[in-house]
Symmetry: C2
Subunit: 148 residues, 2 copies
Amino acid sequence: MAESLDATDWAILAELQADGRVPLTELGRRVNLGASATTERVKRLEASGVITGYRAVVDLERVGCAVLAVVRLKHAGSRHEPFHRVVRRRAEVLECLRTTGEDCYVLKVAATSMAHLERVVDELSFFGDTNTNIVYGQTLPYRGPQGP
Amino acid sequence: MAESLDATDWAILAELQADGRVPLTELGRRVNLGASATTERVKRLEASGVITGYRAVVDLERVGCAVLAVVRLKHAGSRHEPFHRVVRRRAEVLECLRTTGEDCYVLKVAATSMAHLERVVDELSFFGDTNTNIVYGQTLPYRGPQGP
DNA sequence: CGATTTTACCGGGGAAAACCCGGCTGGATC
DNA sequence: GATCCAGCCGGGTTTTCCCCGGTAAAATCG
């Protein structure tokens, strides 16, 4: 289970994080490896849990999610399961991080309108004080972890 | 450019967000469509910008990023380009959202250790007051936008 | 030091998928 | 009702995937 990623593994990770659908033969070409060796390495990265999956990235605005917001929530009380249930049920919640500090949770919420966002935040507010910030845009294209 | 996604498109998006590497023929099987029709729809979703790309998802802990943090930053002054440059250069910054509210930016930072995180935050603090929360864990597995 | 195991890589061959093309159907337009 | 057109299907070719055995270098061990 001990992982030690060499430069080739990192190159593979970089390629797959940039284009998760690249054929393994083409990936091998890019990292100067044969198809079999590349497949073997990718399989190992998947099996060892380094690569947890592959995802298509969807443009939020183009699917009707006009409003993106960061909601911080200071959960009141200690029983968090009901809150977790709501978070799971509400598809508008894209991400939910539990953090240190005053605000126990940081959520990323995608809504179709401000009214829609308001309804979601209202439901979340049941569990504690919330603090909502609308997102203007992403300063960074996005990226995953990179090599050392 | 006007998008109107029907139920099949949403089914395709759901499948590709869950497994971005599923073969198109298998994807067609799952949404009850032939291979050609499926390919055509996926191509259209890509060309129209609904699908912006595909990504391998990497387990942060398994690649040595033991510390994940949410850093909020209240940028001082109005010239933001230097800050953007640093954010782009620093691979530890996985995400950078510009938001409304007191804190202009919300960053997601992955570091290998607390000392490492401190160095990153120190560099960010140059541009304004920061507020850092360590992430315990993700309450939600992650998901993208879903159908209406 | 030499023999054996392990690890990583390559190459081949059959199966599967991707790709490109023409053709069919059912609804909208005129 | 004839035409047009978007959407889907099917077939044939190219590419990729997947599993196999084989090889060479490094690590392990007597």
